[in-house]
Symmetry: D3
Subunit: 156 residues, 6 copies
């Protein structure tokens, strides 16, 4: 198994040097599930019932968090994102799925930006609905696809 690149030979954490890596177009797609009571899901999907748009709030929170990934994840490089988008879809009777796509033209990948967007969007759904469903769960946050770097095209 290869070494963890965020530690040097002496075990010290560091921001990996990407100075010599080529600048390429990079894309990452990540997803996650928010599990909830069917009634909560119905409330979110029916904006009239909810009297507001939970998913639009979550979407903006996720996009804004993606831009601050480098502040949150200690050894992540700050990246000048080209694009971020978040889509929601209906899965099962008791869950919503979040998918975030991030793109950049840079020396290093945007997996963490896509994963952070999904995570903060999910946390925001929880925050918006916790008064009616405190037991919601955030599940299966994972990388779906990654392209553009030296490590090749990854799809789950």
């Amino acid at each position: 198994m290869t070494d963890l690149t965020h530690f040097d030979e002496a075990g010290a954490s560091r921001m990996v040097d990407v100075g010599d890596k080529p600048i390429t177009h990079r894309l990452a797609r990540a997803s996650g599930i928010v599990r909830m009571q069917p009634a909560t899901r119905q409330l979110i999907l029916d904006r009239k019932l909810a009297k507001g748009d939970v998913l639009e709030v979550a979407r903006l929170a996720g996009i804004m968090a993606a831009k601050r990934t480098g502040e949150l994840i200690p050894l992540c490089h700050p990246l000048p994102l080209d694009a971020v988008s978040i889509a929601f879809s209906e899965v099962d009777q008791d869950a919503l799925r979040i998918e975030a796509t991030a793109e950049v033209t840079a020396k290093t990948g945007v997996e963490m930006e896509a994963l952070t967007a999904v995570s903060v969007a999910a946390l925001t759904i929880y925050d918006m609905c916790k008064s009616v469903d405190r037991a919601m769960q955030i599940e299966f946050i994972q990388l779906e696809e990654k392209s553009g770097g030296r490590s090749g095209h990854f799809t789950r």
Copy 2:
């Protein structure tokens, strides 16, 4: 089902007015799982093999993120946290569990702070190990306990 408190009668999002709520001691405990290859888990747990301490990096990232919850979650109140701590435990052969506890003496609860700490600690584990295990999953982020508010003591 009650209304979502983050929307007003007209459906506009808002920071709920907590001005009249009493200041009480509040605690929230949240957890999550990072699922990974057994070899990755072994690498994390054996600091000599990893040449560094992944979990300590993740712990600090989670604690620091908890302090910025009000910046990340759009309608969350900014809170002067009394304490935040994060513990890791070994579950299964292919997973690590994260548990965060947040405390505050304030007018509103700290669920979002505890959940944010777990989420960002999990994302940081992913970031530190993604070079060896890109398929890791973050699972079952959930509230475990909440005490101190009007809604009473919640345990999952």
Copy 3:
């Protein structure tokens, strides 16, 4: 005319000492106008035409900015806001009005938070619509009401 409180006797800027001021409930209300082409205004108000909700994005941006007022305005005290809300109303044929209300239980007032919420909401409307109306203007950002401090109740 009294001195500017943000300078000391020697002319140095400073965060004014509020240590001895009583903690009271404080409210501030501020407003502003975004002037635009009638067609732009129509586009914003007709969410189907716009294919999205410009005002909800602006509202969230304003609320989130209010929470960060202490980071933006150099000598402002950081405040644990109790509540922030933003309302939009239709004025004239070529303008929308923004009104923000901020509340806190603290030693100092929340005028700057309310004014910052209005300003950033207005900037966000500009950003969302600049592709169709680059000449929009932000006008008449002003304090409407302030209560709760030593200086008494102010209304414009």
Copy 4:
């Protein structure tokens, strides 16, 4: 009228993809007015009377805010600014004018950075002088000039 670019076909907000746009030098100039009592204006302009330099504080606040535009405006791209400057000028007997210029070599424009710089500089003047003139107004924040992008050279 063209669509609002910050929404996709389904009405979801997004950070527009600028990945394919060429990197060019871009400049934006924005302005705004702070209306105040003539005595307040006199106080600001006479640094001895004020015992400090209100405009220098406002200038720094505006420059620092320009650098954080991508954090404040939800769908704005983070930009590595080449330059930001702010100039003040005396207009009328009861007003000061703020003009900010921002430059970048990037795929997207810096209008929002220039407008944010003006807005936060204006808010800071308000904050510095509110103890003597609570009724000040911020007026006519607008784009004056924009160059360097596909949409050509704009001047008001």
Copy 5:
């Protein structure tokens, strides 16, 4: 020697629980020296020669950084500062001294806020003058006084 309070019994870092500590008025005073060429010092002190006020920029940077101490120092509590001020004095022929005072009414002390204010003010002096004196040194950043907590009144 007592244990380091920021680690628990198992060696994990944590934000110390201050929930049971009384809220008291707390003050901390810290200082530091910036050593430079006499000509650089002369340039800073003679605002006409410098064509601007280096120390005022440094002062604002220090005050603003003090407000963000809880974001910079991983295990620091976020604190609602009552007051921050920074004074400069002339020492020796080749140095300037910075002194910052921070005050809060809270459960924990403001040493880190005062020390952060001094550090960032010193870094800003360096940044403003590095084009003329790259070899400047920041020296002797230290706590001068601390009062208000359980540990009693400290003076160096």
Copy 6:
């Protein structure tokens, strides 16, 4: 002596225009000393005694602060860092030395990033150990090396 570049001809502070400067690889190395009681130093170096790793916490704080240098230092350009690392070494019986290296491929140098990393790492050591040694001093923060810009290779 040349002028201070952060002021324009009229004495106004500004972010210097780097639009016409070439993009080159740039490196900066800075260092600093934390002076403490020999027993404190022993405690830090013996992780078992300390029950935790003070230097790893300080290292992460320094790296994370380097990424936010543009937010802290008013007229600094925001930079997309390629790499940041921090090393500690044992000097004297009563001191530890911190050395930070920052690299970027950009139009302007990374001195401030390296100096900020050292400063915040030093402040974090102070914070972690202040309960046992309040009189610690941060000394001799200075630039050690700088390469890659128009001003040539600097070494102290």
